[in-house]
């Protein structure tokens, strides 16, 4: 029966995709049908979890069985994959339901559901496969679907550009991944997880480091880590539910999944782990600082995703793999609901994205606002919400492995997270709006219920932390004394709450330009602490803006553009040289011959 459940869970998204593709030109809308199929997939995944006893792998069919090259496509059911498939199918289900509402007016809604179903299928392959090749297939599959979905509204040329950038940067990273796979295969003779991990301890240190490095490059691309991160913010060009599903909850976390899955390789490559840790911290802060100054609703959330991915990588880097997976798990819920809420806001404001132009939406979008506040609180790590448990665990893990510096930086990151999350909430919902938009209204009830599920999970998913640790069963010892532990939690909570209060004070009113100098001076004199913090904040804001505008937008973005452009230009120059003149063709042949002779000649002379 378990086998049937696996097949149902795996193939019902594919069925949804195929059926939607068949009706691509019909006006009939298949959203409900697709959602039911994804729902079936979710139920099967959940049942698999309920009936789970021992991890087992189930071979679907033999792929290759030639000489010394054996591969079979199998499915591995173990705690890691169970967590992943349940998260993926649940979020996918809710995004599907949401899309029925969000994409209702789009002509090509069936095409949309077809892509979405295909994406879920590829993602399931990615997380369920019991070998690296299947993982790579899913990896490429989700990349392809992401390309299709980012460029879904291709009437706009920018969207196409964004989609291409995402695809190409991912391909560059996949190259690293592919090299890693080759290296694994030729060193261990297999791509099956079980066999590879059994062989790994016998390999030399350099080999393991190389393998880990290559795999990590692959993970960097998919999880948009610096310097391959520029595509993620641009990927927001796609429909908002897509951002919720792909660019928050599932695909971008595939990199983390890869690290968790091959933890036995990474555990033996300490130097790579250090790189992962520091890169993770850097990204966590780098992205958060950009989120603090951005005014684009979706981009803020995208940068926030980036920052949280940095946290997960830190957890992987210090060896706390189950913590990384746990943060992935909780993050999926609150981040996707944030995106869905953003979708509601955009729907209400006629696709306005600039948060500076919004405000006072609380009256009209009460339910959305409440859900988003919960999600943001959870994201900031306010006590007893799910984000609190997972993020706190990451801080503790970093602390307990002796990275005090990283702990401090991550704490700073947490404060920044609070700041930008509530800045967004306040600016969108509470600041009195400049223009009166009278016609805004909230999303239909069924959508809000669906979002409510995620909202509830954003609150409660963290409570299972202890059973989660037991279930995953990747040992990681926290050796912190109880008293230190409490002090740490206290510090974190206090820091977050102080930031929260500060943010609320700062953005209670729309920030006005100071009207008169005297007024400002008076104000500053009255609030001396405020002055300090103002200077500090301003300085910080400068740095953040520098990072955002110069490093990210100007240097890296331009770099990728210039790279592509210069290759293209080089080609044009070459094309000019390659005139179609027969005489010149003959010259090429004979000069080529002469060069060959010359090398021979020089060889003799030497």
């Amino acid at each position: 029966m378990l086998h049937n459940l696996i097949l149902i869970a795996l193939f019902s998204p594919l069925l949804s995709s195929i059926v939607s593709a068949l009706f691509i030109r019909s006006p009939k809308k298949l959203g409900i049908f697709s959602s039911i199929l994804i729902g079936i997939s979710f139920i099967s995944s959940f049942l698999l979890f309920v009936f789970y006893e021992n991890s087992f792998s189930y071979s679907l069919f033999d792929w290759l069985n030639v000489g010394n090259f054996k591969l079979s496509f199998g499915v591995l059911i173990d705690p890691i994959s169970l967590v992943m498939i349940n998260t993926v199918t649940l979020v996918a289900l809710i995004v599907h339901v949401y899309s029925i509402f969000y994409m209702d007016e789009d002509k090509s809604i069936n095409r949309y559901f077809s892509y979405l179903g295909l994406f879920v299928f590829a993602m399931m392959i990615l997380v369920m496969s019991d070998n690296f090749l299947g993982l790579f297939f899913g990896w490429e599959g989700v990349g392809l679907c992401s390309w299709l979905l980012i460029g879904f509204w291709f009437e706009n040329n920018d969207n196409t550009k964004a989609a291409n950038e995402a695809f190409i940067i991912n391909r560059i990273a996949d190259l690293g991944m592919l090299m890693g796979l080759f290296y694994i295969y030729w060193n261990t003779g297999s791509l099956q997880y079980s066999e590879v991990f059994a062989q790994i301890p016998n390999l030399s240190n350099t080999t393991i480091t190389l393998i880990a490095m290559f795999l990590f490059i692959g993970a960097m691309g998919k999880s948009a880590q610096f310097p391959l991160h520029t595509w993620l913010a641009k990927a927001m060009a796609g429909p908002t539910p897509v951002s919720a599903l792909i660019h928050a909850a599932t695909m971008v976390t595939a990199g983390v999944y890869l690290l968790v899955r091959s933890n036995e390789i990474f555990a033996l490559a300490p130097s790579v782990n250090i790189v992962i840790t520091y890169l993770g911290v850097f990204v966590a802060l780098f992205a958060a600082s950009m989120a603090m100054v951005s005014n684009d609703l979706k981009k803020i959330i995208a940068y926030s995703t980036l920052s949280q991915l940095g946290y997960m990588f830190v957890a992987c880097g210090v060896g706390a793999y189950w913590v990384a997976l746990f943060h992935l798990f909780t993050h999926a819920f609150f981040k996707s609901v944030l995106f869905l809420g953003a979708g509601n806001i955009m729907h209400a404001c006629k696709n306005e994205l600039n948060i500076k132009k919004m405000g006072g939406l609380y009256k009209d979008l009460k339910v959305t606002a409440i859900i988003m506040i919960i999600a943001s609180a959870s994201l900031s790590g306010l006590p007893f919400l799910s984000g609190f448990f997972s993020k706190d665990k990451i801080l503790e893990s970093a602390f307990s492995t002796g990275y005090l510096d990283i702990w401090i930086l991550l704490l700073l990151g947490a404060m920044m997270t609070t700041f930008y999350s509530f800045r967004l909430i306040l600016l969108v919902f509470f600041v009195p709006s400049k223009e009166k938009n009278s016609h805004t209204h909230d999303a239909p009830k069924y959508v809000l219920y669906a979002m409510g599920i995620l909202g509830v999970l954003s609150i409660s998913a963290g409570w299972i932390i202890n059973s989660f640790e037991k279930f995953i069963n990747i040992p990681f010892e926290l050796n912190i004394e109880h008293s230190t532990h409490y002090v740490m939690i206290l510090i974190t909570v206090l820091a977050v709450i102080i930031t929260l209060v500060y943010t609320i004070c700062k953005y209670k009113q729309p920030i006005k330009e100071p009207t008169s100098k005297i007024n400002t001076i008076l104000k500053n004199e009255y609030y001396i602490p405020y002055l300090y913090s103002n200077i500090f904040v301003k300085l910080y804001k400068k740095i953040a803006e520098f990072l955002y505008e110069i490093i990210d937008q100007k240097i890296l973005d331009k770099f990728y553009e210039k790279l592509a452009f210069s290759v293209f230009n080089f080609g044009i120059v070459l094309r000019k040289l390659n005139t179609s003149n027969l005489s010149i063709m003959i010259y090429f042949v004979i000069v080529g011959f002469l060069l060959l002779l010359l090398t021979n000649f020089i060889r003799i002379l030497l």
């Binding site: 030109r25 080609g571 070459l574």
Partner: protein, 485 residues
Amino acid sequence: MNNLTLEALNLSVFTPMGVLLIGALLILCLDLIQKDLSVNFYTMITTIFLLVDLVAVLSSNSGDEAFFGLLKVDGVSIIAQSIVIVGALLFILLSIIPKKFNEFRFAEYFSLFLFSVVGFQFMVSSTNLILILLGLEIASLCIYILIAIHNTHKSIEAAIKFFTLGAISSSFFLLGIFVMYLLTSSIDLVEITARIQTSNHTLIILSLCCFLVSIGFKLSLVPFHRWVADVYDGSSEIMAGYISIVPKIAGIVIAYRIFTPFLEMNIEWLYNILYFIIVSSMLLSNIMAMVQNDVKRMLGYSSIGHSAFILAAILITNEQTLHSIFLYWSMFMFTNMGIFTVLWVSRNKLKKWHKYHDQPHIKFSGLIYSNPFLAIVFSVFMFSLAGIPPFALFWGKFYLIGTVVNSGEIYLALTMAVSGIMAVFYSLRLIVYILLKEPVELDGQIYITNVSWYNKFVMAMSAIVVFFSMSIIGGLLGYFYEILK
């Protein structure tokens, strides 16, 4: 030399080629007796003979010799011949179309087509250099003619360019043979390698220089690649597709037979030069392919890169070389066949999209709207060309790069992977036109003016292979292992 009996000739080995020769002559005779036989009729005859030929090739025993050792059938030759015949078989089926093109006025078209296949078959089943050259010349002359009788200014120009450079390359091949002959007094590759005492002789390298020019031309490697785009551009889609696959596999076999023994002798010069040629071919061709505005020219440049991939497999000379070469080329064959079939189906006599080009990128703008089915099939083939899993060419690349990594050539493998990424650039460029641009043509019928059941069959065959390649390659590799013992 007095034992010249029929038994000594061992004619049974000659059967596959004999069948085709009879077929070619039969077509010539039929044309003499009865003019105005339809294209369908000739196509069917050609197909039947090719099928018989295929069966004969597949049932021949590896290791047989005939004509006093001039004709040698080994595993390499059996697989190469099969690829040649399957390629020819599917391409000739494209001849049955509703539109009238100039080449189909000639019954000799089919006869020459068969002669070219015979030429390639001889070329790959001998180690005697002069027989190889004769086979090459027969096939090449047929191809020059087949290109020219498309009868446009462009196609004649392409034929003349191809012919001139081909004649030069043949001269260099002969020069290479001559130097080998001077060194060993033999023109048989097996004897030559047996008779060479010191591997570091200047004359060996001189001879290899000449072979490099000639084979470099045949496989279109930098800097002997200049003809490719022009010839593809000028030829009809059938011939362009044909020369992108069939002559190349013959050239690959020759390259394998000539270079491998010397690479195994550890001639450093040859290794370095090949390395350089591979790297520059892969990188330059992919960059050039990126900036083309015509699909056929783009495919021309892309095929340079694919040849360089194969040469990389030859360079590393390990026991998996041949398997990876043949796997790669079979997968490439079906991918390319699909692309050229799509182009052929969409070919018509209007030049409404571009002044010079028949198949500019812009022609396919928004094909997804005007003809969704064709658009999807086309993009699947292009994805395969880019090496995106799970389509056919991914497997070829995977296995080939794996082989290269296995032999410790990590930098070469990296270069190959980088060129794989560049392949994504140029395929994506076309796919963007197909899927993500405003349509130029709202009437989808204009893209299928040339469609017939036979076209559809070829397209479906290629699509099936490309799509379900992962269930095919297992059996294919197994077969290769068995044949290559």
